[in-house]
């Protein structure tokens, strides 16, 4: 069944139409990528899904219920990490539990467990600015999943990192999301990197330039882990490039 319905979303900034009538659905156990040229409003669309921004028209349904403000079940990973520089890494991660009525000790225990799982052990008491970009984004990810969300929204999560770091983190993210003790059942990721979209997702929503509408929704049936040198992979990448540039 549909976990998330995006229905007829429109958005404009002043007189400029940014998004026009975007409709798609996402189901349990899907990884959806939203891809499009820069300035097409992909990040805005993701923020509308998160309930951070109100759309001009249309609605977002989660489990059939309208999303109007941020929701415990839906979490978010930022492009620039958005870690508070004045809080230690573990304090930053515990922020993800602000809405939950659990004891400080329990929060600490959950956060420590997650640090271990994500290869962040030993960095609990350090501040974000002492970490490399890749480590910062791990902290950002830990903050997003500590509350056991069902839906994870990611806004270009790898684009602030160098390619080698990004590649390693992508692999880790994929493995982590597939592990049974992480209850995330839907990921929606915004990206401008076609290969990244093909590597990670089983559904790619391809947007046009501004005012953006959906050009195509492409399903990718390749088996995980995906081989970037395979013919199938190249075919999918070529197809998306073609749709994006035509």
């Amino acid at each position: 069944m549909d976990l998330l319905n995006v229905e007829n979303i429109g958005y404009s900034i002043g007189p400029v139409h940014v998004i026009e009538n975007i409709t798609f659905t996402a189901m349990k156990d899907e990884f959806v990528s939203i891809i499009g040229p820069s300035g097409c409003g992909k990040s805005t669309l993701l923020r509308i899904i998160a309930g951070l921004i109100k759309p001009l028209h249309g609605k977002v349904l989660y489990n059939g219920i309208k999303v109007e403000k941020p929701n415990r079940d839906i979490s978010f990973v930022f492009q620039d990490f958005a870690l508070l520089p004045w809080l230690t890494n573990i304090e930053n991660v515990k922020l993800g539990l602000s809405l939950f009525d659990i004891s400080e000790g329990e929060k600490e225990r959950k956060a420590k467990l997650l640090f271990k799982k994500m290869g962040l052990e030993g960095f609990e008491k350090a501040y974000p600015n002492m970490l490399s970009g890749g480590m910062k984004q791990r902290v950002g990810l830990a903050r997003a999943i500590i509350s056991d969300p069902k839906v994870l929204l990611m806004d270009e999560p790898f684009s602030s990192l160098d390619e080698l770091t990004a590649e390693a983190l992508r692999t880790d993210v994929i493995n982590m999301l597939r592990s049974p003790d992480i209850p995330v059942s839907l990921v929606i990721m915004v990206t401008h990197n076609v290969e990244e979209a093909v590597e990670l997702s089983n559904k790619v929503v391809i947007l046009s330039e501004r005012p953006s509408h959906i050009k195509e929704i492409k399903r990718i049936e390749l088996k995980y882990p995906r081989n970037k040198r395979s013919k199938g992979f190249a075919r999918e990448v070529d197809h998306i490039y073609k749709v994006l540039t035509e």
Partner: protein, 517 residues
Amino acid sequence: MFNYILQLLVDTSFSWARMFIALGLSILLGLGIGIWAATSRRAEKVIIPIVDILQTLPILAFFPFVIYIIVAAIPGYIGINAAVIFLIITSMLWNIIFGVYESVKELPHEFMELAAIYGMGLKEKLSKIYIPASMPKVMGQSTLSWAIGLFYLVTSEIFSTSSKTYMVKHGIGVALTQLALSGNFSEYIVGILIFIVFVILTRLLFFAPLERYFDKHNMSNIQKTRGIHFVHLTKPRLKLKIPKINMPIKFALGKKRDTYSLSNEVGIKPKRRGYANLVYAALAILFVVAIVSNKTLFSYELSILVALLASFARVWFAFAIILLISVPLSVYLIFFSKRLGAYVLLFQIIASIPATIMLPLIVSLFVKMPFHSEAVAFSVYLLSGIWYVIFSILSQKAYIPQSIYEVKKLFGIKGLHAWKKIYIYAIIPGLITGAVTGIAAEWNASIVAEYFTSSGIGNGAVLTSVSIGIGKLLDLSLDNGNMVLMLLALLNFTIMIIVINRLVWKRLFNRIEDIYK
């Protein structure tokens, strides 16, 4: 009926003419000195520390001294006007120098390489690189200079020493003081309204268009993402996403300079610091010996220390109240209000009305109360310092990334939790800058806050006078022509400012700098 309004308009115009001349000269001097300090390492070492001390000293204390010299050299009204303009310049100049210095220091290295490749001479470098690069900050600083200048304009148009009173023929400072003291209350209020109208018109017709014009080239604006346009009434910060404390403050705190001077510090530094410490120690011993061995000096020193302590209590009490008002107000405006821009404009106008023109009004409000002089002193300290703190915190908004607001909303961080995890930390760099400049402004006002007479206007009545305080002590020592007491007081005062900067602000600054970097 309209005669006196016309008269007030003429008076205000004369005052504004003095202000514009002083501002123009301050900008020229600021460009010259600032560029010099930024391009010559030798000049930098001398100029920057001196300017830094000059901007924390209570300039008002030097007024009569300066007047003597200038009026003696140029007699008549020209001499008096020259003296007033000079005095206003001493209040306007320092932050403009720092603005220029910062702008030139911040220039990308490539610009200098470009100048070298095209073989630019000094004249070309000035007109094509240094001056255009400095102008956005010069304009930003000019608004601040203008506000400080107005504060001193009112008191500098009339001044009296033990033997003689000098005053300009036309000036709103003279007019307002005379009206207030002669009991012409309605005319005094009209005078203040005219003053406020001039402030608003200057803001809208002079500063706003110039700022818009120069801001087009402001490099630090390119990275700004938010829609609110900030006119820096506080000193501007460097262009960084995450808040950083500005350079003048760093110097005030004795912070080591940025990377460009690092190579120079390697090796030589410890030895030189050793010599410097030796010199300081020798001076301190000499100072103590001189004071202990001389009965008069010793009694002076004692009275100065007691006076400093009393003023210290007033200044910091007022500062505590300033914090209680400005922190919640700023947090509300930064995190909740949708009309921050409108509030900033309103505050800028209110902040431009100097506490000094309100002084007669404040005195008359409190005159029947017990401890009315303390109430007056408190009000003047509060009004002198509060805007520095508020504007400094508000300008922090531009350095808070949008994603922090989103994190707050997304994870539902609210109430006390938000105060502890977000608000306080987000405003701290602005708060420290504001505290240093705000407390300096309070100290600067001590000379009018603690003691004020109408001697310039005739009857010489003492309008407000606290029982004891450093401002009063400085005033009285000048009235009596006791230069030794005055200089000793200023010395103590300067030492106290430096000690507080190192012990309080520098430590606070060091603690947060690594985190915010």
